[in-house]
């Protein structure tokens, strides 16, 4: 294994893991904020109970999101030092702004929210959770500004062999950001919504705390409907932008080796052979790719072979075709998961509106529980498509991924850290899911038993100082 491959594996693993928690944090905190708003406005205790219950789940999730995020920031310097030297001037700024603007806000106000139930007035306490939501929202904006620069570099010039910022405004009005940010945020809101509806469906099936979970389902399904449609529309704009800015990624995600006929058909499934550069056993829908690319049923889409020739002209010799099968299939998995969520959200909203939730068929409720996995599948495959599809570039057109690794870090060191982080993350994942399930089973009215007063002395003593703590 060479350092490049290992650094890539580490980046993929740590980023995918981190991004299980991020969208759920954003989506959950919005729902908690809405519930607490209902409590403050309507004054009904039940909404406070809801906000506290979902808030508990949010906090467990948020903790893992925060600690895995630290690694994300350090990783650029540790594994990708040449990349950091080349783009720090441009890429570092949004990261620093993210910390100053968003992380401080999130961490301070979440502290106030957790510990401030009895110390703050109702309205101030409510403001805290909304500020946490604003913080997560801004955090997403700035980190995506940084990612958008990698996908579509703007607002800089090359000086002394590195990228130097010359237009901050261009960086934050990057067309890529304008399509990427809504798509990611809708995806995050959808994640929170489907986790809440899924858990609520499970509890409703068990007939536990019906009022709380019916109300939770009703609030979340509306967010689910709006966000799942929002994801689809923003995704469509993103695809059109992709055709203009990263045609190679578009061609790879469609498995298009040679420029298509006009109008271009959309391939549903295909058997792709990257070595022979051809596909077999394709199923196609006529004209749909033209619509996806140009919002009209005409126009052809460039193929990878033609683009490869063009890129060789522009950037010199090299292989500019990303891993096609990964890009192609991750795109389709994302769309399938997204489509299924839209259907479930529509039907769920229909049931909720007609107050028929509890009478709904077992099959639908079971499907909603299973659908907890869908947003995670969609988020992950979406990022795989967008990051793998950008290869071989790390900054499109300016720096290849392999040129970005740290020259002074050995493969052994990266292997060690990858194993260490993977082990730590595995434990974290298991513990977190375990705690989630435990909280869900305990339900919103679980009372913490009063702590007994134990008299033992020393945490490192014979009995570890827990002699009287019961299990």
């Amino acid at each position: 294994m060479d350092p490049i491959m290992l650094s890539r594996i580490q980046y993929a693993l740590t980023t995918i893991f981190h991004f299980f928690f991020v969208p759920l944090s954003i989506g959950l905190v919005l729902l908690v904020a809405i519930m607490e708003t209902l409590y403050v406005v309507k004054g009904k205790e039940v909404y406070k109970t809801m906000a506290k219950f979902w808030g508990k789940l949010f906090l467990i999730n948020f903790a893992v999101g925060v600690v895995t995020g630290i690694l994300q920031e350090f990783q650029f310097g540790m594994n990708w030092s040449e990349y950091s030297r080349f783009v720090g001037d441009v890429f570092g700024a949004p990261l620093a702004v993210e910390a100053l603007l968003a992380f401080f806000m999130e961490s301070t106000f979440i502290g106030l929210w957790i510990f401030g139930w009895d110390r703050l007035s109702k309205k101030v306490h409510l403001a805290c959770i909304w500020l946490v939501f604003v913080g997560t929202f801004l955090s997403a904006l700035w980190i995506l500004a940084a990612n958008s620069f990698m996908q579509h570099p703007v607002g800089f010039e090359i000086n002394n062999g590195r990228a130097e910022m010359n237009d901050f405004f261009a960086l934050i009005t990057n067309g890529q950001l304008l399509v990427e940010f809504p798509h990611t945020i809708f995806g995050a809101l959808m994640t929170g919504a489907f986790v809440v509806t899924g858990i609520s469906a499970y509890k409703l099936m068990k007939k536990q705390d019906v009022e709380i979970f019916r109300k939770s389902f009703n609030i979340a399904i509306i967010i689910g409907l709006v966000s799942s449609l929002g994801v689809a529309f923003s995704g469509h704009f993103q695809a059109q932008y992709l055709v203009e800015t990263q045609p190679m990624k578009m061609a790879a995600s469609e498995g298009t080796w040679t420029t298509t006929e006009d109008p271009a058909p959309w391939t549903v499934v295909a058997f792709i052979d990257p070595n022979k550069q051809e596909n077999s056993r394709e199923i196609k829908i006529p004209g749909l790719l033209s619509y996806l690319s140009y919002s009209k049923f005409s126009g052809s889409v460039k193929g990878m072979k033609e683009l490869q020739a063009e890129y060789e002209q522009t950037y010199g010799p090299g292989d500019y075709i990303p891993p096609v099968r990964t890009t192609f299939w991750s795109f389709r998995i994302m769309i399938a998961a997204g489509g299924l969520m839209i259907l479930l959200a529509i039907y769920g909203t229909f049931l909720a509106m007609r107050r028929k939730l509890e009478g709904a068929g077992k099959w639908f409720m079971r499907l909603m529980v299973f659908a907890i996995s869908l947003p995670f599948i969609a988020n992950t495959s979406g990022w795989i498509m967008t990051e793998v599809g950008r290869q071989p570039w790390t900054v499109f057109g300016y720096m290849t991924t392999s040129a970005g690794v740290s020259p002074n870090v050995s493969a052994g060191q990266i292997l060690f850290s990858t194993i260490a982080f993977t082990a730590a993350y595995t434990v974290l994942g298991i513990v977190m899911v375990y705690l989630f399930v435990r909280e869900i089973k305990a339900g919103p009215y679980a009372v913490e038993k009063p702590e007994e007063h134990d008299e033992s002395a020393d945490p490192f003593g014979v009995d570890g100082g827990y002699s009287v703590v019961t299990k």
């Binding site: 906090l59 467990i60 600690v67 895995t68 630290i70 690694l71 350090f74 650029f76 310097g77 540790m78 594994n79 030092s81 950091s84 030297r85 720090g88 001037d89 441009v90 890429f91 570092g92 700024a93 620093a96 702004v97 910390a99 603007l101 401080f104 961490s107 301070t108 502290g111 106030l112 957790i114 510990f115 110390r119 703050l120 000086n159 590195r162 130097e164 910022m165 740290s406 020259p407 002074n408 870090v409 060191q413 060690f416 850290s417 260490a420 982080f421 730590a424 974290l428 038993k449 702590e451 007063h453 134990d454 002395a457 945490p459 490192f460 100082g465 827990y466 703590v469 019961t470 299990k471």
Partner: protein, 338 residues
């Protein structure tokens, strides 16, 4: 007049000083659970005393890292890739510690709580130690070559000077944390925190003195910044003396302020001694990373300056407000969240 890159050096120094002042007592409180928390309830009280704050305090480090990345890409790249293995340990400790606070009291199960307690104690001791080691090596010098690449050997990072530096920071954080704990608790727990702080004053003074002497002989910072550093040493010694006096008087608020001053003076001295270098190369001063050869372009720094000057007052404002909200001591009747 400061140039922009000099200003950012100052800002990053401020961020690190803020980080060690604030997160320093979080580390100390984490360590203190092993020493003064006799019962589970007491350990919980200690953890809850920093509960609302520790995450916000940690952001000072994240911001310092982001600011280094943006303002001094070469410093960030050389330091983070060169200190690969220590940083892996730092990250694992930060990860473990962060979730331990959140998870620890979620279950009333002996082994569960004990495991998270040990993670809190070990990581709270390990982190200040490793940071102390890293900052000591920055002053002592590292084999940085002409390409700004750093491939340190084990002895470059771990040697008597850096170990003393690490121990100094750890002990300083422990005393600082004990005083913070005594500020937010009552009765026995407060007494125990104050007593232990008082006992540790002499060892702390001793190790800081040893470290100052070693710094004089093993680095060039006194030669480069003579009188300014001597002033810092005198100020530091005075603050430490006052801290000892106030601890004996059982006036923990003033004592805590003084240990905070010692931390601020110690880390400010590191940056004063380094300036205008950000990393000293042991392979010749031509290869030093400096404020001038490691920084970003003027435009980027200007934008960042505007953003930072706009946002910092707000950040400081609401962080101070959160300390004001949770100024009351925790007693036996309080509901504990963590």
């Amino acid at each position: 007049m400061l140039s922009l890159s000099e200003l950012w050096f100052l800002l990053i120094a401020v961020l690190f000083v803020g980080f060690f002042f604030l997160e320093g007592f979080d580390f100390g409180v984490g360590m203190s659970t092993a020493m003064i928390g006799k019962t589970d309830r007491e350990r919980r009280t200690l953890i809850n005393s920093i509960g609302p704050f520790w995450d916000g305090n940690e952001v000072w480090l994240i911001t310092a890292g982001g600011a280094m990345f943006a303002a001094f890409p070469h410093w960030y790249a050389t330091l983070f890739s060169g200190f690969y293995l220590p940083l892996v340990v730092v990250l694992l400790a930060l990860i473990g510690r962060g979730v331990a606070f959140e998870f620890r009291s979620k279950m009333r199960h002996e082994r569960w709580r004990k495991t998270w307690d040990i993670i809190i104690i070990v990581s709270s001791a390990l982190l200040p130690f490793l940071f102390g080691v890293v900052f000591a090596t920055l002053m002592k010098g590292l084999p940085i070559d002409a390409q700004m690449q750093l491939r340190p050997g084990f002895l470059d990072i771990v040697n008597p000077y850096t170990v003393v530096g690490g121990l100094s920071v750890t002990l300083l954080c422990l005393v600082h944390g004990l005083l913070f704990a005594s500020l937010r608790t009552v009765g026995d727990l407060r007494e125990r925190a104050l007593n232990l702080a008082q006992k540790l004053m002499l060892p702390l003074a001793a190790i800081l003195a040893i470290y100052a002497v070693m710094t004089y002989f093993m680095t060039d910072v006194f030669a480069v910044r003579g009188w300014a550093l001597w002033i810092m040493v005198v100020l530091g010694a005075a603050s430490l003396g006052l801290a000892a006096y106030f601890v004996r008087q059982k006036r923990e608020a003033w004592a805590f302020g003084m240990t905070g001053a010692v931390i601020a003076i110690a880390f400010a001295s590191v940056f004063i001694g380094l300036f205008p270098r950000v990393m000293v190369s042991s392979m010749g001063s031509a290869f030093d990373l400096t404020v001038y050869n490691a920084s970003s372009g003027a435009y980027s720094l200007k934008v960042m300056t505007i953003v930072a000057c706009t946002l910092l007052p707000f950040v400081l404002g609401y962080q101070i407000w959160s300390y004001y909200i949770f100024r009351k001591r925790l007693n036996d009747h309080h509901h504990l969240e963590y």
